[in-house]
Symmetry: C2
Subunit: 379 residues, 2 copies
């Protein structure tokens, strides 16, 4: 049985509805995956993350490897038991994070040698060890080790990163899969259409369950990202889910869905929440602004999150001023609810044939001129 089924297409774009079946959850797509890098959602009790309805959450192999360590997670019953998350888990391989976070990084054809940013100890990641680590953690979806060439890159660097990523994918394909675990490969090649085509062609032929698109949203600019998606996504197999890594704000989500992307993850709901920024249908709102201090209404009266069900904007403004972590908890929760509800509306709109109108409304509230949000590695 193939784990992914396409259930329908939008008439006016490449947007599609799908269902990805994993060991711990059936995931309706398009889907947004909250990021729990270290095995927890920053500032939010896991039961409240469950209440957002998210069917799948993200962990990071690099971070979990350096702390608490794969052995420890294994001893504590695997990643699901460790973080008390009952639904699906996708772990990123950590290639991107090592590139931007670890000290004394040395990438060779064999793999990556690096020092932990936590305690300076030396570690080696290979294409094989990374899928083995994810097998031991028992996650639903494992990501291959890739090399994400940092932006700005020369054509030569971009080519080298892609070729290494492809060779590593071939090696990972030789490692037996843990039963019930899916494996996604990652395309690289920057914004070069020829490199992206080659990535798609070669990876489409390898035995993986999904295609992730790496190396976008890292500084190349929104228009070039959209352009790349428009040409690159159609090259990826129709029968596999397409996952745009590390993206993004609502405007990017609808544009990428329109290009045929099925899966997303991004730290902005929690990072922005902890900084006092909430997402609404009219764009973002900073709860610190003085004019909100007297507002008795919630962020959004139609939102079912704990902040909107109980608290006024005036109260949230008070929490900002007192600088208690409770503000980050409540605003992260609002944002997580907002992103889940947005994806539900996107799925409904594709089903109903009204995706065009929703896309236009979201882009109007979150226009591309808003500076791109780049994933920072510490999350």
């Amino acid at each position: 049985m193939t784990p992914f089924r396409v259930l329908g297409h939008d008439r006016n774009s490449a947007a599609r509805r799908g269902l990805l079946t994993t060991a711990h959850a059936a995931i309706p797509t398009p889907v947004f995956m909250p990021v729990a890098t270290h095995g927890f959602m920053r500032a939010v009790p896991i039961e409240m993350v469950i209440d957002t309805g998210a069917p799948v959450i993200l962990g990071n192999t690099y971070h979990l490897h350096v702390r608490p360590g794969i052995d420890r997670i294994d001893a504590l019953g695997g990643l699901h038991a460790f973080m008390a998350w009952p639904r699906a888990i996708l772990t990123d391989s950590g290639g991107f994070q090592i590139t931007s976070l670890a000290d004394h990084r040395r990438v060779t054809d064999d793999g990556i040698v690096f020092k932990s940013h936590v305690d300076g100890s030396e570690h080696v990641f290979t294409p094989e060890s990374v899928v083995e680590a994810q097998a031991r953690m028992g996650v639903d979806i494992a990501m291959l080790l890739d090399e994400c060439t940092p932006h700005p890159y020369t054509p030569g660097e971009s080519l080298a990163g892609l070729e290494r990523t492809l060779r590593w994918a071939e090696r990972a394909a030789c490692v037996p899969t843990r039963e019930g675990q899916l494996r996604f490969c990652i395309t690289q090649g920057g914004v070069d259409p020829a490199l992206r085509s080659r990535a798609a062609r070669e990876l489409n032929a390898m035995p993986f369950d999904g295609n992730a698109i790496g190396g976008l949203g890292i500084g190349e600019g929104r228009e070039r990202m959209y352009e790349t998606l428009r040409t690159h996504v159609p090259e990826l197999r129709e029968d596999r889910p397409r996952y745009l890594m590390g993206v993004g704000p609502p405007g990017d989500l609808v544009e990428a869905v329109a290009a045929g992307v099925d899966m997303f993850d991004c730290v902005i709901p929690s990072r922005h929440g902890r900084n006092g920024v909430v997402y609404t249908d009219d764009g973002v709102l900073h709860v610190k602004v003085a004019r909100l201090a007297e507002r008795r209404d919630p962020i959004d009266p139609n939102c079912a999150c704990p902040a909107c069900r109980r608290h006024s904007l005036g109260y949230l403004n008070h929490l900002f001023k007192t600088r208690d972590s409770l503000m980050g908890t409540l605003l992260t929760l609002h944002n997580l609810h907002y992103f889940q509800r947005l994806m539900q509306r996107i799925r409904d709109a594709i089903d109903d044939g009204t995706f065009d109108a929703l896309r236009a409304r979201v882009v109007a509230a979150y226009p591309p001129k808003v500076p791109g949000i780049r994933p920072r590695p510490k999350d």
Copy 2:
């Protein structure tokens, strides 16, 4: 109708069971009140505080006056609506906090002139203005303005603080009470039995609904606090609840209950929780200690808190190491549940005639030699 009824007495101590009826909750005593100084429980969503079962929570008039201000709370619907707490609220007057926190404090017979620690603005608290502020906030139980003489004190200072507190109580008694609001006076007099007796005698004759005991647990030492309670509590009217302010760890709670105290508040469940310390029947546990990193069991398998229902000690140890605020949230919640359950066990034990045995077990786990926990003003 008198708001407080004594329901029963312990045979072997002065401990008693009671019921305090307030506008928003019937409060079984002995009771422990969690502290939400600024109108929220630090690090914990209010619905999770509600889930601890606490019938009453504490706010602080000084803190709420300087930020967000009584006018703002009034405009946002009163303190219950502001903080979304449906049960009873007791607000401390803030006399203690001004003494230890505000700048340029000047106490006169008329009241206290001080500068806000938030923005340096000048304010005046009088015995009248403080009860009026609490009436405007609509709390269930208002505390009078008192002067808590900081420890160490001379006999003369202690006497002066008491006399001012008594004069202020007389003035507050002349301010009409908001309908449905109870008012508690506060005894002072340090550890001097004669001063305490005088405080009790004079305040017993004034028209208040409860007697708070101030000026203890501020550095005088555990034995002197216990001694003072043993002689002072019996002097307080039997038909009014007795509230020991700012106390304390479990050992102090059972000893003070044995002396006849009915109500308590303390910041230690949240302050210690945020620092990685949890309360158990065997004493406190520091989740950071290395030997806990591999433990699959929770803090306490019999605890119903979100941390114990879902998470291993190994996971909590991981949260400590990553220094995320989620650890403070979960450990505060455990401690709040622990203190509520301890009070329930104390009430049941008084009912069942087994309070002696419970008291001995708690004192063994929390012996008096543990250094006293002094309230710090910022909470």
